[in-house]
């Protein structure tokens, strides 16, 4: 006999709720992964698959690999510039005695508040005007898309690093300096190791907003400049190729691997402090 105490009933209800929640949250991902192994005719997507096959993985077009690689490279470059802009901005923001600090912080955080569609429209028109003035048209170029992605990625680095720097004890740096360390080596040996978890977490979000972005890339894409989300969007709108399910499944798998690596490297706690 199992005694149905209140505590036990509560626990069972809690697990049922968790199960439904996870089924809802992960359902679409499981379905994409499942359908990618299905013997489905072009255009008709069936889940669960009747016959298992890996033909969609073998049949991934070179163009899709190129789009995926382009997305990874774009997101990596976006992280690099976001960190180069965001880390000094965060260090300076916390320690400066300039007046109007809240306003400066708001200016650095503002891009997060702008809906991606609005940012896309704004950059498209900004590049037209810039092109008329300077002769360089940013719309439909990788540089133009990169600038827009650095713009939306930097606030995440600023937010995460600010959160860490605020807890940082300045005496550690003073001790290093008074013991004869140079300013650069103080930064590299004392400051950097302490703020590194914040940099990693900010860099993770900067990578994700670039890698996941569809709206901005839609406005700034061209026949040569197409990220993977744009390729997937256009295929879903017009003619769907099932091997896109295979590429999507690879991305889902990589997302879970990335999470495991980050959990080992910096811990889940650092990822939660987005400072948003």
């Amino acid at each position: 006999m199992i005694a149905f105490t209140e505590k036990r009933v509560n626990r069972i209800l809690a697990w049922i709720w968790m199960f439904c929640f996870l089924a809802f949250l992960l359902g679409p991902l499981v379905v994409v992964a499942g359908a990618s192994f299905g013997e489905n005719p072009r255009g008709l997507l069936l889940f669960p698959p009747a016959v298992l096959t890996t033909r969609w993985y073998a049949g991934i077009e070179a163009g899709y690999w190129a789009a995926l690689l382009a997305s990874v490279l774009l997101a990596s470059a976006s992280v690099l510039f976001s960190v180069l802009l965001g880390v000094p901005a965060a260090l300076g923001l916390v320690r400066t005695d300039l007046v109007g600090k809240p306003l400066l912080a708001a200016a650095l955080r503002a891009p997060v508040q702008i809906p991606a569609v609005v940012a896309g429209v704004a950059f498209l028109q900004f590049y037209y005007v810039l092109g008329d003035a300077l002769g360089w048209y940013g719309g439909g170029t990788w540089t133009g898309l990169l600038i827009a992605h650095v713009f939306i990625g930097t606030p995440y680095v600023v937010g995460s690093v600010t959160a860490v720097v605020q807890r940082f004890n300045v005496r550690l740096e003073e001790a290093a300096l008074s013991l004869g360390a140079s300013r650069w080596s103080t930064f590299r040996r004392v400051t950097l190791p302490v703020i590194l978890p914040g940099v990693y977490s900010g860099a993770t979000y900067a990578f994700l907003v670039s890698f996941s972005d569809l709206p901005i890339a839609l406005f700034l894409s061209s026949s040569e400049v197409r990220t993977f989300p744009v390729v997937l969007f256009q295929a879903m709108d017009y003619d769907f190729d099932p091997s896109l399910l295979a590429v999507s499944t690879i991305i889902i798998a990589l997302s879970f691997v990335a999470m495991l690596v980050l959990q080992k490297a910096i811990g889940l706690g650092s990822l939660l402090r987005t400072g948003k």
Partner: protein, 284 residues
């Protein structure tokens, strides 16, 4: 350490603020010019675009639909997400970490792929309709794609993981000892939630809900791909006006309305959260 910190702050700040102001100025200015067709703008400043948005029924309906879907999505996300966030934050075993890791990983996957999965699930001959038919709950397959209901589920997938991660952090800040004290003084579980947990979490809940609402107002992918051109929310309309119709003036005006509604909501939310915190005697 004597370092001129403003010297470290100003270069990145000037670059960021410069791009922010220049791009926003250009598109907002563009919204005050009439469209002449094929992407050309008139030469005289006019309020025509904005007047049309607030008088033409087509645009008013789109604005209302966007607000309505965002509100419904926020309510549903709260109902599904809050218990999940609470349960995970209060788990004592390693399961809490595992579940949190799963949710973070789900938040890593782009919404385009999630919507692809939803499109398969919701298809006329998809798994959902097959199950409903087999169980005899419906006699004909349901049409979910191209409907507001389907878009709502898509919007929930855009915000749910993020919302749970936000609320998880909020609940961790509420000491477990307060809940235990309430129970040891004889409060039932429900009474404890109602009188202790909920009031303490309220500022965080309100702030998270406003963030979700804001995200939904600007969400493009779910509405575009599940709505299939039949659910025209403001972000979808902006993309179509600019890319398909090349009416840059009108597109910019619609984007301006979306941006302003977001800014207004942010100011309101700051105010609301501050008042809630003050009312509960917490430091802002």
């Amino acid at each position: 350490m004597k370092v001129a910190w403003h010297g470290v702050l100003l270069p990145p700040l000037l670059i960021s603020a410069g791009i922010l102001l220049a791009s926003q100025y250009v598109f907002i200015k563009g919204s005050f010019f009439a469209d002449l067709g094929v992407g050309r703008l008139g030469s005289e400043l006019t309020l025509e675009n904005y007047q049309r948005i607030f008088s033409d029924e087509f645009y008013v309906r789109s604005l209302w639909l966007t607000v309505k879907l965002s509100a419904i999505t926020t309510a549903l996300t709260l109902m599904l997400g809050f218990p999940a966030a609470y349960l995970i934050a209060r788990m004592r075993s390693h399961w809490g970490t595992t579940l949190l890791a799963l949710i973070i990983a789900a938040s890593f996957v782009t919404i385009v792929i999630k919507v692809l999965g939803l499109n398969i699930i919701f298809a006329t001959n998809g798994p959902l309709n097959q199950t409903l038919l087999k169980l005899g709950l419906v006699s004909e397959p349901l049409t979910i794609l191209g409907k507001a209901g389907g878009v709502t589920v898509g919007l929930m997938h855009f915000t749910l993981a993020f919302f749970v991660i936000l609320l998880y952090s909020v609940i961790l800040t509420i000491p477990r000892s307060l809940e235990e004290a309430a129970q040891s003084l004889g409060a039932s579980r429900w009474r404890m939630h109602w009188r202790v947990t909920l009031p303490l979490a309220l500022p965080g809940i309100v702030a998270s809900c406003l963030i979700v609402f804001n995200l939904c107002m600007g969400a493009f992918t779910s509405a575009a791909l599940i709505g299939a051109g039949k659910v025209l929310t403001l972000p979808v309309l902006i993309q179509r006006t600019v890319i398909l119709d090349t009416r840059y003036g009108m597109g910019a005006a619609l984007a301006g309305v979306l941006l302003l509604s977001g800014l207004f909501l942010n100011l309101f939310s700051l105010h609301a959260v501050r008042r809630l915190k003050a009312a509960r005697g917490l430091t802002a």
